[in-house]
């Protein structure tokens, strides 16, 4: 839909691949929690059990080592028991420890079994929630949104940003949770072992967080740049792939590769730097952990040698080098675990930064205002008595009426749907500063065929955009069957209009499904009849599976003309009292066009038709032809009248004036 979008008509959605807005994490978590309370609480509990289990291993080691050294005390040289006796002495206590261990580990394994599986459900459920929420909200955005944002940019939110979010939710968040739980438990454990050694750990944490900040910050910066150059390269590829056939025809392959190489080199460079910083972070953290490990052993050894007393949260311990040594031995794996947790968490930094940036764009997409609709006049099926009174009814009668409740006195009036459209002094601009339509007055009575001609940018399509309220007028009035269209509910207004657009858009599905898109309740026979009317039946029957042929990629396997015929059939099956044909037959040869026109004319007998066409032969038989120039109607009248007038239309017709 970019065809009618001069650059700068609206703000681009992607103002650059910036960092995440503040509060994104909070909003994300709030959303995650709000919709998945039960699942999350089970996950958190299981995650807790499983993290604590991992930490407990160190505690067990300490207990076992203590028991064993007690056992060893009983042996020569310090004791005098035989090995068997010593073993039997400590066995009951050891057994207790082993049994606790087995219980804890089994619980841990079960917990991790549960939480990993639930995590899969949670991640995918959440992504599904995000996707559908985005999609559903997007359905109600005004056309302006789609005109001012590139399809590629919107798509990238659904693909790239959602993928980044997936990483964040499925890996980073649980990893952060695990790390937090483990770190807290480990800290408690460490304090209970030795405060001296814990202080050394704190020193380590400080250094590690500084390193993460500087190296990780660099890495995050380059990851953002990488995303940016990836976007640029993607844009280039997209453009080239769409023009691939032109490239072939002009033997322009070499140049196209050269252009690609340039973007590719840039991407490679940014990606190299981003990954370099990320990759370096891991060994730095790992070895800082190792150094810390050494430092602890060193300090610990020193403390033992110097005869220091151990300090724990319960206070100073008695002087006991053996016990202190055992404490150091158990402390070392804890420190290892601790630093491993921290360095693992630092690895998540990039995922977090990118995931949050993605989430931020997802929220941005979800935060646009929906189309405003203050209409209260609705379209209802009705029965019309002989005296002209209209009564509302449920069944199909072939008659429709506007149901108009009056707020002032609470009465309801019914107006028959006829397709009478009037415009009074309508002004309009896509942006307030630039008015593109001036003082448009128009009276279209049921049964009339109204045509618009004029150069590109004269405002032909804009007028139709106002009738179906894709855009709202700045000034003036549009009445439909005498009712101000602002009072009509948008959905009902659009239901009463059949529109065939210049750019045909077909959907993945069978030919039959595509025609039925016009009216979901239409039977196969209705669809075939519409296809016959649009002169599409003929070619559809020649397709491999006839009406059941699958169309993919916007009907790529059909010619442009055939796609137009299908979209006319789609509008025909809708059977609306007003039809708008916007360059609907531009790619159809004139002979076929004449046949199609015969069909639509029969269909639209007694109804209102608006025609926009480039080819004057298309509009020749209209009741009124309006010539538009720079947003003004400069001539109006029938073909004969306008020819006789010898004005702009005459010039166009005789080819003395160019339509561009």
């Amino acid at each position: 839909m970019a065809m009618k979008t001069p650059a700068g008509r609206g703000a681009n959605m992607r103002g650059g691949h910036g960092r995440a807005k503040k509060g994104t994490m909070g909003r994300l978590l709030a959303m995650l929690i709000k919709n998945n309370k039960k699942l999350l609480s089970v996950i958190v509990v299981c995650l807790f059990i499983s993290s604590v289990t991992g930490v407990m291993s160190s505690l067990f080691l300490n207990n076992i080592l203590t028991k064993l050294s007690e056992g060893l005390e009983l042996l020569p040289p310090s004791g005098n028991l035989t090995t068997a006796e010593a073993w039997n002495t400590i066995l009951p206590d050891l057994m207790k420890i082993f049994i606790t261990m087995i219980c804890v580990y089994v619980a841990g394994i079960i917990a991790s079994f549960i939480y990993t599986r639930l995590m899969a459900t949670l991640t995918q459920t959440f992504l599904h929630q995000i996707r559908t929420s985005m999609f559903n909200k997007m359905q109600f955005y005004p056309i302006r949104f789609f005109d001012t944002n590139k399809t590629g940019d919107i798509m990238s939110v659904y693909t790239n940003d959602t993928d980044a979010l997936r990483q964040l939710v499925s890996q980073s968040i649980p990893s952060l949770l695990t790390a937090t739980i483990s770190v807290i438990t480990l800290l408690i454990l460490m304090f209970s072992f030795s405060i001296w050694l814990s202080l050394v750990i704190f020193l380590g944490i400080f250094v590690m967080s500084m390193v993460t900040k500087s190296v990780g910050g660099n890495s995050a910066k380059y990851f953002m740049r990488q995303q940016n150059s990836l976007g640029k390269e993607e844009g280039y590829i997209q453009e080239m792939m769409r023009g691939q056939k032109v490239i072939k025809v002009f033997c322009h392959e070499e140049e196209s590769i050269e252009g690609f190489d340039e973007k590719n080199e840039q991407l490679c460079e940014d990606s190299r730097k981003a990954h370099m910083f990320a990759n370096i972070l891991m060994p730095i953290m790992g070895n800082l952990g190792n150094l810390l490990y050494v430092l602890i052993a060193f300090v610990g050894g020193l403390l033992v040698v110097l005869g220091a007393r151990n300090l724990t949260i319960t206070g100073f311990q008695e002087y006991n080098p053996t016990a202190f040594l055992v404490t150091i031995m158990s402390f070392l794996p804890i420190s290892k675990q601790f630093t491993a947790q921290i360095s693992q968490t630092s690895q998540q930094l990039n995922s977090i930064v990118m995931g949050l940036a993605g989430a931020s764009r997802i929220f941005e997409l979800m935060d646009h205002d929906p189309e405003t609709d203050n209409g209260y006049v609705t379209l209802v099926r009705c029965r019309i008595a002989e005296d002209g009174t209209i009564t509302e009814c449920e069944e199909r009668t072939g008659h429709w009426a506007w149901k108009h409740p009056h707020k002032a006195d609470g009465t309801i009036t019914y107006t028959e749907l006829k397709g009478d459209i009037q415009m009074f002094d309508v002004d309009f601009g896509y942006v307030p500063e630039k008015i593109v339509l001036h003082d448009i007055n128009l009276y279209a009575n049921p049964g009339q065929k109204i045509a618009f001609v004029g150069a590109t940018g004269a405002g032909k399509t804009t007028i139709t955009n106002l009738i179906n309220r894709f855009y709202d007028i700045a000034d003036g009035k549009i009445r439909y069957d005498g009712i101000n269209i602002n009072k009509i509910k948008k959905a009902d207004l659009r239901r009463s209009l059949g529109i065939v657009l210049q750019d045909t858009n077909l959907f993945t599905g069978t030919v039959m499904e595509n025609i039925r898109y016009g009216r979901l309740s239409a039977s196969d026979e209705d669809c075939i009849a519409a296809a016959k009317l649009a002169y599409a039946d003929d070619f559809i029957r020649r397709l491999p599976d006839g009406y059941n042929t699958m169309l993919t990629s916007d009907g790529a396997n059909l010619s442009q003309g055939q796609r137009q015929l299908l979209s006319i059939a789609r509008a025909a099956v809708k059977d609306a009292p007003v039809m708008i044909l916007d360059e609907a037959t531009s790619s159809i040869d004139t002979r076929t066009e004449a046949l199609v026109q015969k069909g639509t004319d029969r269909l639209m007998e007694g109804r209102t038709v608006f025609v926009i066409a480039h080819r004057l032969s298309t509009v020749q038989n209209s009741d009124v032809i309006m010539v538009l120039e720079y947003g003004n109607i400069i001539e109006r009248g029938s073909h004969e009248e306008l020819i006789a007038k010898r004005g702009k239309y005459y010039q166009l017709y005789t080819g003395a004036f160019e339509l561009e």
Partner: protein, 617 residues
Amino acid sequence: MKRKQKNKTSAGFIPLIKTLGGSIREYKKASILTPLFVMVEVVLECLIPYIMTLLLGTISYISGTNQNSDPLIEKIVIFLSHGAAEPNLLLVILQFGLGLIFTAFVSLLCGARSGKYCATASSGFAKNLRKDIYSRIQGFSFSNIDKFSTASLVTRLTTDVTNVEMSYMMIIRTAIRAPFMLIFSLIMAFTINAQMALIFLCTSPILAIGLYFIMTKAIPFFNRIFHKYDAMNESVEENVRGMRVVKSYVREDYEMEKFEKASSSVKEDFVKAEKLIALNTPLMNFCVYFGIIAIYIVGSILIIKSNQSLLQLTELQSFMTYSFQILMSLMMVSMIMVMVIMSYASAQRICEVLNEKSSILSPENAVTEVKDGSVEFDNVNFKYSEKAENYALSDINLKIESGETVGIIGATGSSKTSLVQLIPRLYDVNEGSVKVAGVDVRNYDLEVLRNAVAMVLQKNVLFSGTIKENMRWGDKNATDEEIMHACKLAQADEFIQGFPDKYDTYIEQGGVNVSGGQKQRLCIARALLKKPKILILDDSTSAVDTKTDALIRQALRSYMPETTKIIIAQRIASVQEADKILIMDGGTITAMGKHEDLIKNNAIYKELYYSQNKEAK
């Protein structure tokens, strides 16, 4: 649709690696250095806890808490005391400390090096891969292009390559690191105590079987999911592009329902596949935890029963450090596995492109000169795919002299475009032959042929860049005067001069800032710059008004009399003066002749003529 068919012929693992491996090239050095540095790093990293054990042993030996120490520690103490009779504990510890710091530092350096090389290797590999895919696509013929959709080619070049890049990074670094660490930790564990280390070995078959089971189940699952996922995203794109249709038909609810279905089905499948992969973690935990318990039990017995002569207290501690290392490396293995599973589908899709053979290539000993602009179709039959039932063109016999103007008229879908596409050999005929200057087009060098045959496509594209840059597509070395001349012929000069930046006006992507008629004239000018022997205009003036259309034809006639001109048009006026007019219907030429003959003898032509010239009559 395109992808579904192809994935049935998924390539084997080895050819896949071979195809992708071809893109490493100049990054081989970095790709080899990475694992080498990783190995050194891992060795040093594993040595640290071992040295720690020695340190603790030494401390307890010197401080006298343990007398039955092993001979190694005694030797170390003697060595570090530098011959002093009474070992100085502080000095020993200090030396140990320095040694450890040195080890950690070297390990850090190696780690950083490997990280750097790894980044170079993986991003370089990705670059080459993208380049290879892109170049391959550039070599595609029209029928190759038709086979892949634009969207799928873009995904392959971006997302799929990124997936493979991540895997590659994992493989040369982590996949070396993890098993190496595993093996080294095991070796260290063995040196401490073989019996206990055996316990780890016992758990490995359970692990291997489990992992194999998960892998084989998950890979096909993921392949299927990615197709669904793509289809879902394609439907979003369709929805965004077709939003005017959606809103015109008030189909918001219908679209939402459709998407909800697609999205939930993707969700369901993903959950199933990820649940399978999720089995990884508990399986690992099971093996490691029960390994640890077994080690504690066996270790306790050994220590007490032998009174530390077979196993020491400190050794049990370092044994635990190794078991944590083993646990970590197993976790890494599982991460790699997930990554490889996920990127396997991507790798396959990349290989599909890399292995796709261009269906149209220049022959050996190709003819390198196109002598004149004559064209001959000799009993040509053509269809777009081997599987298609109906021929798009059948029994085409046609002779065009050099310099002639030929008009082609026919209904929507009558294969007019198919006919002319055979001349620059955009597609190959199935039967018969197409000759240019008396030589079969299949015998020409492709570039020579296509430079001699300029074709303005129906679905035309301008590229982002200035007008001049776009024009130079036709002739790289064209001077500004030549460009202006071509634009004058195509009646484009006038409106270009009206732009503020004239020939330096920037054309936006897809040419959205010029009107349809302007675009068409620019495309004609671009083709004229090639100074072709044959010029084909495929409905190229449909958005141009009749008068300008006539001026273009007149310019072509007077300035390019030698060039053969083939014009497909909807308007009779566009072909009226041609030397020959073909009328096509259902893939055959139903009539051929001059305007005067056809108007007399051909009903369709007559009808068309009068319907378009009602007033002129």
